[in-house]
Symmetry: C2
Subunit: 372 residues, 2 copies
């Protein structure tokens, strides 16, 4: 194997595939990046078996890539990234000397790195599942940012560690929940499809980081895996086994109380009140009636805060409701829109947060009981 490649092109490709590499991988080969030089393109692969990323560099012109000899090698990700990032030239050469020793050279800097045999790298099946649809990367990023934060980090119920994508007809419903709060986003897709899959949140976040703005992404799914296909890159993730809970009965449909407010106003108030914690949790209380909306927090140890939400508009009888400040804060951050509506059914019933002018997104939060 012997090729010349542009430093910036090679570095970006290495960075992309290294996102799949976890420092906790049990298999030594998975700490490396597999580099394959084909006749007219390079293929780079990174994986931790849970998520795998493969990217291709084409030799469109000599300045990007010039392959003199085909072959393949696996090189420790952290070393190759470090070398390429700091090398003293805009173009570098990579050559297998003998066995697995690999020479990487810039202008005067030259490295001889002990690689690993690519035969020892596990075979990863990148065959594209037949079931697929296209989606704009901005919409996909939005789905991920508006749902994945609400998933569980505990492995006790594995299905809750991922975002569920449920599609019937043209409508795809995306849901993340940790059983204390739930985030739902509904989008229309161009094809008529039926599927019900759950993708690990961690992998979705890596997908999100890899996406450029406003590109067309193909999503291909089987019952074992999902693929996100970008221009030169394929990101492949396993699915989570197990049944995702039926959420249709969780979301109340009729409400007795409504609070309308600017996102920025209530975000600021929760942010100010949240340092007051009891047992590590900041419990925020809303005392709502049509005359005044008061947000407060209190702990025996620290003290208390109160704040009048002067621009809030409330409809309904008097209501006191308390919740985990972080859950509502994260829900509001995910919505990121001007005016929002809180809809309540009662002191101990789950409540709904939605933008006033967009019902494609819905955030549900369970209140907490307080004794004050």
């Amino acid at each position: 194997m012997y090729f010349k490649v542009s430093k910036s092109v090679f570095y970006n490709a290495l960075s992309t595939v290294s996102r799949a590499i976890s420092s906790f991988s049990p298999l030594p080969a998975f700490s490396g990046i597999k580099i394959e030089a084909k006749l007219d393109h390079l293929v780079l692969t990174g994986s931790d078996s849970d998520i795998s990323i493969q990217t291709t560099i084409h030799s469109d012109n000599e300045e990007t890539l010039q392959i003199n000899d085909t072959g393949s090698i696996v090189i420790e990700a952290k070393y190759i990234l470090e070398i390429v990032r700091k090398i003293d030239s805009d173009e570098l050469e990579l050559e297998i000397l003998d066995g697995t020793q690999t020479k990487i050279s810039g202008k005067t800097a030259e490295f001889k790195i002990n690689g690993m045999n690519s035969m020892d790298y596990p075979m990863i099946d990148f065959i594209r599942p037949a079931n697929n649809f296209t989606i704009n990367s901005d919409i996909l990023k939005e789905i991920i940012s508006q749902t994945s934060f609400a998933t569980s980090t505990s492995e006790t119920r594995p299905a809750l560690t991922g975002v569920n994508f449920f599609c019937e007809g043209h409508t795809m419903r995306c849901v993340g929940t940790d059983s204390y709060r739930l985030a739902k986003k509904v989008v229309e897709i161009e094809k008529e499809l039926t599927f019900n899959i759950t993708i690990p949140s961690r992998n979705l976040n890596e997908v999100s980081k890899t996406l450029e703005a406003d590109e067309e992404i193909t999503v291909a799914i089987s019952d074992k895996k999902a693929q996100f296909i970008l221009k030169n890159t394929v990101i492949q993730t396993r699915l989570i086994d197990g049944v995702f809970p039926d959420i249709s009965r969780l979301i109340p449909l009729a409400f007795d109380y409504e609070l309308e407010i600017d996102t920025a106003e209530i975000l600021g108030a929760i942010d100010r009140a949240s340092f007051i914690k009891s047992d590590g949790v900041s419990v925020i209380k809303l005392s709502l009636d049509e005359k005044a909306c008061i947000l407060s927090s209190r702990s025996q140890e620290v003290g208390s805060s109160t704040e009048n939400l002067s621009n809030a508009v409330f409809k309904g009888e008097h209501l006191d409701i308390s919740f985990n400040g972080r859950y509502v804060f994260e829900a509001l951050k995910a919505i990121r829109q001007g005016k929002i509506r809180f809809s309540f059914c009662g002191e101990m019933k789950p409540f709904v947060i939605q933008p006033i002018e967009d019902d494609s997104i819905l955030q549900l939060v369970l209140p907490v009981r307080t004794y004050a």
Copy 2:
């Protein structure tokens, strides 16, 4: 106690004194900031007994500070900083309600925080020592950045955890060493003084962060403490007991080999080679003669690097010398100047790094033995 104060003025003052507060302090009161309202000024104090910072806010005009009632309180640093940083107005009020409960109010946000009695805060003696001199803050910052990095982080020899300031006549010699490398900076001061003190590095770095550019600082010293006196702020640090080693015999005076090179060129080369480590240390080797200067590194596990320092100029017989890459990297970063000179006496002798046009700074590094 009851006063009104500008949010930004108060926040900056709280940030300054909070630099002295350590989360590991054994005394609960030291996790707080002491706030004293005098007739026409506020005094804020933070301390961990090792370093103490006191700053004053004067009521020059009503928008800065308006004191209605004198008094004093101690409030947990992290709470008061959080409240003031996020409060919903440009001006805030602070009032002791009863005992130690303290009300802090902005526009509609209001906090009632459990403070601590200021009688429980240790007395800190801020009396200014008689021995003192003035120095420009830029020069003081430079002294600290060029010497403190070379001090030891191990407590086995306490004197090496600080920078030694030794003054005779108008000449102050500032030295940090961890016994493997040494950094020396010499400056002239306006007064004739004699002292020999060692100040903990950690405290000097806090002093450096507090200094503004180009202000006149008074440094006052006794045999127990040093004070750095800024316009509205006094930073006081304990001194390290114990004799600082006599460095005069450590620095060689005559050399057999000389290497002249651009700082950027050798910094880049060391930076590129340093990821190759053996037992966590990157050993860099220079192979020098008048024809070529080669920088290399090698480890059994990772591989090797070599680089020709093409703009280096070497005078002397052939010399191979190896050193801890981090030590030389940090020494070069501290020098931060265009052309530098390495002066060597032999393979296993300490070598000297100095800017070619500035002998006020000197960096000394001990080589390491290699078996290659």
